[in-house]
Structures are given as C-alpha cells and as structure tokens.
Symmetry: C2
Subunit: 149 residues, 2 copies
C-alpha cells in the first residue's frame, strides 16, 4: 500500500452542536459543514475543515455523535464522556486492492467495505492490529480530495 492523505481524524462528541460552537468560537474554524445522519453507521456526522498548505484542503475533523441507542460509539463515550479522538482515516487510490493487502498481512478488517461519510467506499481495521489506533481506509473521491456539502 502507498500511504495517502490523512483525510480526517474522527472525533467522538456527546453533542455536535456544542462541538460546532467549540470549533467555531474557540478554535476559529472558517468552514464547518452541515451535519447529517449516517444511519448505516449509527452516527450523526459533521465535517470541520482545516487549511492545507498553500491554500489547499487540509485534513478534516470528522465530528461524530451517537445516533440511537445502538450506536457503535456509545461505548467510547461511556469511557470518555467529554468525547475525544476516536479514529483516523487515510485515503487510498483503490479500496479493493488495499483491503486485499491488509488481509494478506493478517490485519483484522471490521465488517464489509461500505460507503463512508464522503460517499466513497471505506473499511475499518482493528485497533489491536494497528498500533492501538482504530484506522479507517477510504478511497479517494474521484473528483479529488475535497467536497462541498
């Protein structure tokens, strides 16, 4: 595999509304996208942009709030009631090729490849096989590494 962009860091929060106020009023984020429900993954999602080098797009902050009582991030928030760093997401050019490579290395993949928050195929790798980090692998959007919703 060839390491691609660090597309986003996933940040769990008990309240996207409160987190938006934090990134806007405390951190001074200039662009905060509209939150939306990602029902298939049991989370409400909101992307916060950070600038890249020379006016390019940088790594985003993906705020995730539990959607329903079965949300997979309820356990994380029970342990970390304020929220915190939940996962990291790297881009790859070809999701199927990346999946095959991780499988060949014996890395545990959590569930099937599915559509992620940016509408491109993703999968997650088990943190115990990834140096303690829940790692998302995402195919780079065809139109490039950024988006407008």
């Amino acid at each position: 595999m060839k390491l691609g962009r660090l597309n986003h860091i996933g940040v769990a929060t008990p309240s996207i509304e409160a987190s938006i106020a934090h990134y806007r009023d405390v951190m001074g984020a200039l662009k905060i996208h509209k939150p939306f429900d990602l029902e298939a993954q049991g989370v409400k999602v909101c992307f916060v942009d950070t600038p890249g080098e020379g006016g390019t797009f940088g790594t985003q902050i993906e705020l995730i709030e539990p959607l329903g009582t079965d949300s997979p991030i309820n356990g994380f928030l029970a342990k970390n009631p304020l929220g915190g760093q939940h996962h990291v997401c790297f881009e790859v050019a070809d999701i199927d090729e990346a999946r095959k490579e991780f499988e060949e290395l014996g890395k545990r993949i959590l569930g099937p490849t599915r559509l992620g928050a940016h509408g491109t195929p993703i999968f997650f790798l088990h943190p115990k096989d990834m140096q303690g980090i829940l790692t998302e692998i995402m195919e780079t959007p065809k139109e490039g590494s950024h988006w407008s919703n």
Copy 2:
C-alpha cells in the same frame, strides 16, 4: 483565533522502531524522518509524512516514545499498552496572541510556552477544556509549514 493547519497528530508508542516498521511496511509511508530525543519533554520523537493535496505537505504523524521513567507519556502507555492517539497539534501564526486568547476564554494551559519538536514555540491545552482532546498549539515555522530533518 483562526484555525491553522493540523500540523500533526501525536501517536504514543511503546517502540518507535516497531512503529516505523508499521508505517513503512504496512501503511506504505514514503517519508519517515530520523528519530531524535526531545529531552525537555521526556520523549523520543519520529515524524512520518503523509501527502497533502496536489503534492503539498500533509498532516504529519508524530510518533512519541517515552524517554526515561519520568516521561509524561508513561501513564498513557500504562493505560494503552499498544499505544494510540495521544494529542493533536494545530498551527497558529502568533503563539503569544493564541495563548492570550485561550487564557481569556478560561482554557487551562499546561505549563509555559516552550520549543516543540519542530523547533517553534508551542503550548498544550488541558483535554478537559478541549472536548476531551489534549491539544497542542504550535507557531507555524517561519520558512513555511514543512521541514527537512
């Protein structure tokens, strides 16, 4: 404050050597910098580059391994023996101005402003005041957002 680049994510590891092998052999990182001791902060440090958009520099991964028995990350590794996401670091144009703004907002700052791993002034903010995330604020290097060591 105006949110700057996500300069790096800080990743604690019990072994920088093992982490280098992971980012090189599993993740396919093309550029891994030479590790060095940051004695003032009690850590050994190694930066791993990720690509930015259009060939620019992206957010780095800062691997940190304890240096000595008093290292401030020993507690984190006792709780997370495999390592994991330790902190995030955002750039600002003026470190003194940023410090003043966080102080005025009542955010707890951990210790004095000091030189960080990139040789520019930094300070850390208490995770309990920052949505559960240990947050480093770093002045953008004068020569730009990248480096060569």
